[in-house]
Symmetry: D2
Subunit: 428 residues, 4 copies
């Protein structure tokens, strides 16, 4: 087909979708709202990527607030400021897209399609900045719809439907699950737990899940936890619950925060079920360390330390005879520096995982040398892993300090690492 | 206690609640949001009616939008109007109460308390007009949270938990259910159905329910439908589904419309289950007829007709020998006039039940003389009942005509009643 | 219709059922077993009481073991006694009815009809002793089918389906429930529990249920437990679980014992849920006391005591001024004598409730004067009630002593009552 | 350890189990029956294979009927034969093991252990013929307990718990499932169904399951049905339901027949759900054909045919240029002969799959050349597969003819194969 014809075709498909959207919105009353919403959602789902993008752009162009109404509302407000006219102003400034999204949600299964639609928005927004404003509308509604009060916590175990379990395999973002036997090893032993949040209208789609290992000590590396042939312990003898993987599942719900609520509710569930548990701790990756070390560490570390640290560019560096003696103190100091001092533009820590747990009120407890020797662990964090402790008595205080003063709660142990002096590398 | 002391006490309780609300809102991040929301909701639930009212007033006074932010947003917008600054204006004009309500909803069971809170608002708003603006905030959120896409249709029958059934007894608003045996007679026979909408977070609280009788003809009066000793028919032989009672359950969800969606989904369910059903019809009360007849009918009826109609002020009037011959035509003309011509300030019919069904796209089918001889039926509607037909092929058209042009879809039969001439009352 | 014609008609219906039974049994292989079983069960269910009786008699006459096969099996066995030929003998002596019942059970819902069928047998067996042998066949199978391993314990509370709750009202055999509000008062308060055994194929039919009150002391009378307006206590503060009513539901399962298993499993459930509970005790009726006192007590009580005890024939006797001083010791001695010494033909206690709990291993703990002033309580037990304690550490020993030596486990308190001397009745 | 010591140890373990069994049985009343049953079952489960065998032998030796009681019952019966004394005889001849098994079943989870115990019996019975009689006792009870009336049909699909699905993989006996992706391909497409029978006390253990393909024609070979990349069809367009795999899951329930009931109930379910289905047919293996052909065919086939058929001993024989022309008619005649004439000692067909379906009332419809080229299909059946049709109108008649007269219902098409003459093998 000739391009011109194609563009006309697309344009007409786009216009068709646009007309459906206008129809749904203009509909006074709601006699056939469900059916029309269904129709539009089906048409969108079936459309090509190109038509979808055009439709999203059309939403951005045409479904904002009406400038005339805004002007009028402003004119009224400035004459007689007060809550009534503020409410009118608020209504006038609401993008029409928000009402459109609410009406699309009338259709059974609509929520799911809208979440997918925002996924499309997010995938395209980098190249199409005009989509940013409709993204804000989606997010505004999703924050309200996926409010924690509407979420349901469910256990995930070996008696969970396969249709949900395959999503656990698919969505695991921290330590990849390579198949069903590996999944079974993570879910079925009595000293392993998994919990997920679900939303009633997305019944078979987990929103976020956390994998927990019950242990008798704070673990220092990931491999023993994932070891297929390990012997499970009796959960009643466990003292420690380790959150070793936490994964968001729905790209379309980006920015709607679940993780904080999930961890805290899981702590409550576990304490009820296993009152002997004393310690709630993560075993977490440090995804930004290696990048920071290579690029930005020179501003804060000694030249000599930088030189020593370059060893990690060699494959198998951690097996070198003096790695423990020479490299470990330098890298440990470096990672402590990274976690305690390297800042994001918000003034919070630069490492996203640290930011998440510290913001939840956890404490940076321990830095683990050679905690993750997987290719990803070596590449991103020079093999380090970190424990963050959720100490219920201090969570609120830690969070407040972090939120207000950007103060990082960290153990003495971690702080002490900052003071290490590099060892001589030679032996003579 | 002396009033002054009392007012100080109350004031301090109120301030306590107010401080909790500010704390929940100011909380940067959300480390203890769930716990704080729980605390505030519990404090509210346990408070006296007086403290509740003071707290609601406080919400109205202090949790609107911030005028400074609005002024600033207006100033920015007028310089550079466009979607980005419109979005800022929208955000600035959003009452802080909306975010507060979203945060209160974090707590498990929060939604239920918020619905009760709005019940309190609605009970007090008549005497406290300043509550009107917080009512709007509640409603705005509830419309979004109780969007039809989140509702679940469930059958109510004799195997439903008693804890739900007692609410059916309690909430039945049209034809009172006097006890469990009467409830059983409405739910258990094979030719009776009942459906309700539930929201996942209010799992044991129906939002709205409809009672359905399966029959072989459009019924003309309610008594035979409710007759305890009647023999049920085989539902497969039924041709007609009669919606004879529809009740909203949650005063706190006033203005969030469910009825339209409920009826249409029930029609779909019944058609799937019983493909022989051809007619979907209501047997409805006419709650405003008697009041209109007594007060406002003289403008449109002949004086002579008004005089005749006064007979209904006598107890037992419908048993009089010439009631059928003399009264029936006059009252039938009157009720047809009321339904077709008496208007509400919106331009829609004055009768609220008529307004509801016509707005859904139903057609006014038939007026039933002596359809409901219960005290309430006689008092409110001179014993009349009405059938509205849901004809799926015409629902959308009817609704459009009604929404745009205020056109009432009515059968020829009903229209013809308007032309009746009063009979001579004497016999000589 | 003339009797002769009638009897011919009945006879033909009976023969029809008989032929269906033979057909079902003779069927080699099972190609249409389910359908034929269904047909026979439907025909039986729809038959008149007279035809049912005739059919049951036919089963008794024609579905015993085959004498020829028995003779042959005996002849073989006596020549070469041993397990193989004993097995043949066993098979030959099995009534054909047992296989018929197993085949009838192929049909969905068959178990329920068979239970009803045995109800019919039991109702008729007094006048038709030939039904006794088929009763034994039913019972033999039911003992196997309703084995404790197949039963499911379920809580009954206010969220139980109404269709099950109405059976609780109907089957309550100890303290009548007069309606739904009374049922609610028994099930809904937090210090009240109810548990029932169900069988998977009789999903909506409880087999037996027990009602439990949580209290802070062993109760001495029933009225305060049933008091509608009482204030519930916090179950966590309860020390005592009182089994105050236990009712079998299925007449057709007579002789299949559930009660013992139910009480013990409920004790386990309650201990798990409420570890503070220390005492598990009944508040039980003494249904045979008054009858024994009137008829058989003279053999063991002094003539003087008998005379005093006659006071209970007067209405309101318990309100008399000296009832406490004069009557109480005499009647208490009498009831202790009844419970400890009056024997059934089996050598076990004559009182059926005592027999049940003592056989379960409970201990007779206390006799309660004026424990039940309901008409039934006064009529059957002169107002007395009894507590039996389930003390888990001694249950097995008590049971053994009871089963082997007919020894009644009783507290010193109850034994001491035997020694009371009657008080002078005069005032001087 | 020295053998002598060992045997003493084992003997004492065995005696311990034996004493537990006697204790459970002798227990008059049942005060602690559940606990004792639990103890014995746990002890058995934890015992070594050797102790298990000894215990089973002990059961066989000591838990038969009591010869003295039998003698007495015989003596009574012969004096006064009649149903009462026949019942006594029946009771006396019942092996004590049956009551022991019923008591063991009191314990929660007991049924499952008893099924495993019979598995042990069946594994050992070949070398220990004395176990045959206890096997009969197990089977007698299991036939009653696993009566079709107690079974529950459940769909197996991709939303079934993984813990059940892994058993489907494990138990599939006809066409092996190599992993989860293959399982998904069998369960998840809309034109594939799977159904299983469950027993309420073995909730996570399927007893038997059948896999069904919905197609538009009777299939002639298995490979296209199992093809991972095939496109599914719309089930509403299917005309044919193909039962292509049916697997028993519990070795311990051998001889308790489920398959017949399963197929017929699945036919009913499918007809209700998909009224357009017209044909219900199997695609079945012929497991005994190759063995019969090699050993026993010479009695009924011509020497020339036998010679031709020997070609199948060469790997890849079916790819030979003249296989279709020369081999097909000979082998087709041979397999028709095998299915129609080769008999088992019971007079029924020698092929076990044929016996099963014909006994259910199915008709031998078609013989499929090169229907299964898997190693197993080639080895056991020279690549042939067979279709049996379940034609509901004729099932009962077919079954009767088969049960009474050993008549094989077969299509004309299959019968005609018997008349084929071998083709010349040469090329000229």
């Amino acid at each position: 087909m000739a391009p011109r014809f194609l563009s006309r075709l697309f344009s007409s498909r786009k216009e068709e979708l646009g007309a459906l959207a206008e129809g749904l919105l203009s509909e006074r009353g709601e006699a056939s709202g469900v059916a029309r919403a269904r129709e539009l959602l089906d048409a969108y789902t079936g459309a090509s990527a190109e038509v979808k993008l055009q439709f999203l752009t059309l939403l951005s162009d045409r479904f904002g607030a009406d400038p005339k109404q805004i002007d009028e509302a402003i004119a009224n407000y400035v004459v007689d400021p007060g809550p009534e006219l503020a409410a009118q102003l608020h209504a006038a400034a609401e993008p029409r897209l928000q009402e459109l999204l609410r009406r699309l949600n009338l259709a059974p299964g609509g929520t799911q399609v809208l979440v997918r639609m925002r996924e499309d928005v997010l995938r395209k927004v980098a190249g199409h900045p005009e989509l940013r404003r409709i993204d804000a509308d989606f997010k505004h509604l999703f924050v309200s719809w996926f409010n924690r009060g509407f979420l349901v916590l469910r256990r995930i175990d070996w008696s969970t439907p396969a249709s949900i379990l395959e999503k656990i395999i698919q969505y695991e973002a921290v330590h990849e699950i390579s198949g069903w036997m590996e999944l079974r090893a993570r879910l079925n032993p009595p000293d392993r737990k998994c919990f997920a949040f679900f939303h009633p209208t997305l019944a078979d789609e987990p929103l976020i899940f956390v994998e927990v290992a019950l242990t008798r000590a704070i673990p220092e590396s990931i491999a023993p936890l994932l070891e297929a042939s390990r012997l499970p312990i009796d959960p009643k003898r466990a003292t420690t619950a380790v959150f070793y993987s936490i994964s968001n599942c729905q790209a379309g719900l980006q920015g709607v925060s679940f993780g904080n609520f999930l961890i805290k509710q899981v702590v409550e569930e576990l304490r009820r079920e296993l009152p002997h548990l004393k310690t709630f701790v993560t075993l977490s990756p440090v995804p930004g360390f290696a990048h920071w070390l290579a690029r930005d560490a020179k501003a804060v570390l000694a030249q000599e330390e930088i030189e020593v640290a370059k060893a990690i560019e060699q494959p198998g560096w951690y097996g070198a005879p003096d790695a423990e003696r020479v490299l470990r103190p330098v890298l440990s100091k470096a990672i402590a520096t990274y976690l305690l001092s390297a800042k994001h533009s918000s003034g919070k820590p630069r490492d996203p995982v640290a930011r998440f747990h510290l913001n939840n009120g956890a404490r940076l407890e321990k830095v683990n040398w050679l905690g993750d020797l997987s290719p990803k662990g070596l590449r991103e964090a020079a093999g380090f892993m970190v424990n963050y402790v959720y100490d219920l008595d201090n969570i609120e205080k830690n969070h407040e300090e972090f939120a207000h003063n950007r103060a990082v709660a960290a153990s003495r142990n971690v702080r002490n690492l900052l003071r290490a002096k590099p060892q001589a590398t030679g032996t003579s």
